[in-house]
């Protein structure tokens, strides 16, 4: 039920994540970060998240792009639950109607 490589990946993920949780407390609590370092660290999560979903923005099905457009619009004004539900519903509907 547990694949060895999956287990190794999971344990390494856990280790780096725990490092980020205690690292700020241990390493940064008595230090002032440069404005540049702060800007890079603040931008990092968004840069990674948008990169991971970037393929959705260049999908070759019009229905997928339409669903994404609705999802982006929802994400700017609604909370998690309605955005996820409306994103799924609009994409499913667009695929049904446009193929």
């Amino acid at each position: 039920m547990i694949d060895l490589l999956n287990l190794v990946t999971i344990l390494l993920m856990a280790a780096v994540t725990y490092f980020t949780r205690v690292g700020g407390y241990v390493l940064l609590r008595n230090r002032t970060l440069s404005a540049r370092a702060t800007a890079v660290m603040e931008a990092a999560p968004g840069c990674v998240l948008i990169s991971v979903i970037a393929p959705a923005f260049v999908a070759d099905r019009p229905a997928d792009l339409l669903g994404l457009a609705v999802t982006v619009l929802c994400a700017t004004r609604l909370s998690m639950l309605p955005t996820v539900l409306l994103g799924i519903a609009s994409t499913g509907a667009a695929r049904y109607l446009l193929g």
Partner: protein, 248 residues
């Protein structure tokens, strides 16, 4: 995940550990509602990448950082690209470094052991609520420490239990639900990521690196096979952030 307001409640001397713990749980109830579908979707997608009903809670229980888990599952293959997944996990969770640094001044009254143990459970929600709560308590001039450990643990553990439970449920129910992509369920990922990014949004100027990442990652995806688009997008965005911070 979303930043939410701590409930207005002045520090009171009659508060017990139990009542503070319950106050923490109550404060994050609205967050728990959002976690249910989010956890189910993550678990179901993980099951489609053939992670087992044991591996999913192992990941969500030991890692306990939803954004990185969504990114990891998106990238998961058999066998997994270990270094890619670990690097993405580190980058997505690098914000914890800043969060821990911001919370550190309020943790001085805790022993190292307690601080290290409680930081394991620090998530966006419990961090945001506890920081807001600590600032509020500090402003009331209480003799108690501004940071309430039981309040923080109540909020953190409620999110933890819900996250592990619902991701596991998603992993077990996912295969029963069959192929859900035709119904548009694959859009759940972009939806979750976009809402997470909305929560991180400060100014349009601060978001310029994100645009760089998006364009570079999209173009890379069109011209190169495999998962290179993530590394290319993330690296170009960080370079842009470094460069743009110069003229701030």
């Amino acid at each position: 995940m979303t930043i939410i307001q701590a409930p207005a409640l002045a520090a009171n001397a009659g508060a017990t550990t139990g009542s503070e713990f319950r106050r923490g749980i109550a404060a994050c109830m609205p967050v728990l509602l959002g976690i249910v579908p989010y956890g189910l979707v993550l678990g179901a997608q993980a099951a489609r990448k053939s992670l087992s009903g044991l591996e999913v809670p192992l990941m969500t229980g030991l890692n306990f950082a939803g954004g990185s888990e969504f990114a990891a599952i998106q990238l998961w293959s058999s066998p997994p690209h270990i270094l890619l997944i670990v690097a993405v996990t580190l980058l997505v969770n690098s914000r914890h470094l800043l969060m821990g640094a911001a919370l550190a001044p309020y943790l001085r009254h805790l022993s190292k052991r307690k601080a290290f143990a409680s930081l394991f459970f620090m998530c966006d929600e419990s961090w945001a609520m506890s920081l807001a709560d600590s600032k509020e308590r500090a402003a009331t001039g209480t003799s108690l420490p501004a940071f309430s450990l039981p309040y923080y643990m109540g909020a953190s553990l409620a999110v933890y239990v819900a996250w592990v439970a619902f991701t596991t449920a998603g992993a077990l129910l996912g295969p029963v639900m069959g192929d859900i992509d035709a119904l548009g369920f694959d859009m759940a990922f972009p939806a979750v990521f976009l809402v997470l990014m909305r929560g991180m949004w400060t100014t349009a100027a601060a978001a310029r690196p994100w645009l760089v990442s998006l364009v570079v990652a999209a173009v890379t995806h069109l011209v190169l096979p495999g998962a290179w688009f993530i590394a290319a997008g993330a690296a170009s965005g960080l370079a842009a952030a470094y460069y743009l911070a110069g003229d701030a």
